[in-house]
């Protein structure tokens, strides 16, 4: 599993890792019983403190998204339902960030919803450039 972090994202790193795993599930690049990288592997590849990885995996385990097999590693739970849980959760997270950006810009939720509806109907030239 490739995992990367956004340097512009100022949320705690463990939350970004949790989100990245959710994103993998929502997109279908990560499925039931797939292994997650070991703590060492992920910490070394992202150049982050291993405790941050442990914190992220513990949060995912508490949510039932992954399970830990002692001595073997961390795996995606067999019964994950990305459409029922991860997708709505991710959508809320994206919306929360958009709301925050809107607030910074002096917009209210109505402005944002209006613009979203418009964009959904006709993404325009910018829509095609967006990353998946």
């Amino acid at each position: 599993m490739r995992l990367s972090l956004d340097t512009e994202d100022n949320r705690p790193i463990y939350i970004q890792i949790v989100d990245e795993v959710r994103r993998g599930l929502a997109r279908g690049t990560l499925g039931p019983e797939d292994p997650l990288p070991s703590v060492r592997e992920l910490a070394a590849s992202l150049r982050i403190n291993p405790r941050t990885v442990m914190q992220a995996y513990a949060a995912l385990e508490r949510e039932g998204v992954v399970y830990v097999q002692r001595g073997k590693g961390t795996y995606v739970s067999a019964d994950v339902r990305p459409d029922e849980r991860e997708r709505p959760q991710l959508a809320r997270e994206v919306a929360r960030r958009a709301m925050r950006e809107a607030r910074r810009s002096g917009l209210d939720p109505g402005d944002l919803i209006g613009a979203l509806k418009e964009l959904a109907e006709d993404p325009g030239p910018d829509g095609k450039e967006g990353k998946g």
Binding site: I13, A43, L46, I48, N49, R100, R104
Partner: protein
């Protein structure tokens, strides 16, 4: 950026420990200059503690005193439960140390020979790992130590610090002189080391952004004293940047408040405050004064260091 007249006071109390490193009133004088002036360092076991401060603040001296390469004139220095001043050699054998200076002890020695020489001083030296480090850091064993460039000396120093798998790392500007690839690999090596070995690390650096994601404690040093030492989560919670709009006709000057670190006017009536304090209190203060708070966000460690040091510089 304008700075306020009163700099905030940061906490230095780190609770009860246990601590891997402590100094209690450590003072080091060079003639009439006090490089360390009653410094109380506390680094918890397993912490990755970054030490930030201006040039000449005492960072290098502090690391040297912990290594007992320099003796403190006054105060207690404890390293892994040992008195650094009495048990210098035992202390040093357990530490992975990268000195500030880019110099290896024996200029006439080939790097390969130097590794063999140094391995003897560390009972825990791991040759398999040392060989891995040689290839990862692209170190040439056949070169003479005295002929190495600054960056290549640093690579060898990093190898010497890590190859005995120490539980304590003291790193003085560890990435200084390294090129992009070597720096990136070094950060990966440090993260891997932390995963393999329960390690406490004290890192002094001016490039905090490089190790931002490895760090979990921050100490700010100036004039030989610690002006603050806090767990990273406290720093992220307490030191924040608030974007707000102020009422028309009011000058940002009138908006100085408790714990203010920096104030930067934005476009028109927008102002950005950096304040040390509980978010709720700061937002209340701003709102009561008539401002509309648009956003509140934590700072990176690098931004925090810059903001705090600028404030103290001015006061």
């Amino acid at each position: 950026m304008r700075t306020p007249p009163l700099a905030p006071t940061l906490p230095v109390d780190m609770g009860e420990g246990p601590f891997a490193l402590t100094t209690d009133g450590a003072t080091k004088r060079y003639g009439s200059i006090r490089a360390l002036d009653g410094l109380n360092l506390k680094v918890p076991f397993g912490a990755v503690y970054v030490l930030v401060g201006p040039n000449g603040a005492g960072k290098t001296t502090l690391l040297q005193v912990l290594m007992n390469l320099k003796r403190a004139n006054k105060g207690q220095v404890s390293v892994l439960g040992m008195d650094a001043r009495r048990e210098g050699p035992r202390v040093r054998a357990q530490i992975g140390y990268v000195p500030e200076e880019h110099r290896l002890g024996y200029p006439w020695m080939k790097v390969g020979r130097l590794l063999e020489h140094c391995s003897v001083y560390h009972p825990t030296w791991d040759w398999d790992y040392a060989n891995q480090l040689v290839s990862l850091l692209e170190i040439d064993r056949e070169r003479k130590c005295g002929h190495l460039s600054k960056g290549n000396v640093r690579r060898v120093q990093l190898l010497l610090a890590l190859a005995h798998r120490p539980t304590l790392l003291l790193l003085d500007e560890p990435t200084d002189g390294l090129d992009h690839v070597a720096r990136d690999r070094t950060l990966g090596l440090l993260a891997g080391h932390l995963a393999d070995t329960t390690t406490t690390a004290l890192i002094s650096t001016h490039r905090v952004y490089e190790i931002e994601r490895l760090v979990d404690h921050v100490g700010v040093i100036r004039d030989g004293r610690l002006l603050g030492q806090v767990p990273l989560e406290d720093l992220r919670r307490m030191l924040r940047r608030y974007s707000a709009d102020v009422p028309e006709g009011q000058e940002p000057r009138e908006w100085e408040m408790e714990g203010m670190v920096a104030l930067r006017p934005g476009l028109g009536r927008a102002v950005e405050w950096t304040v040390w304090g509980e978010e709720e209190r700061v937002v209340t203060d701003l709102t009561v004064a008539g401002a509309t708070v648009r956003d509140c966000a934590p700072l990176t460690v690098d931004e925090a260091a810059t903001a705090l040091l600028s404030t103290w510089e001015a006061s």
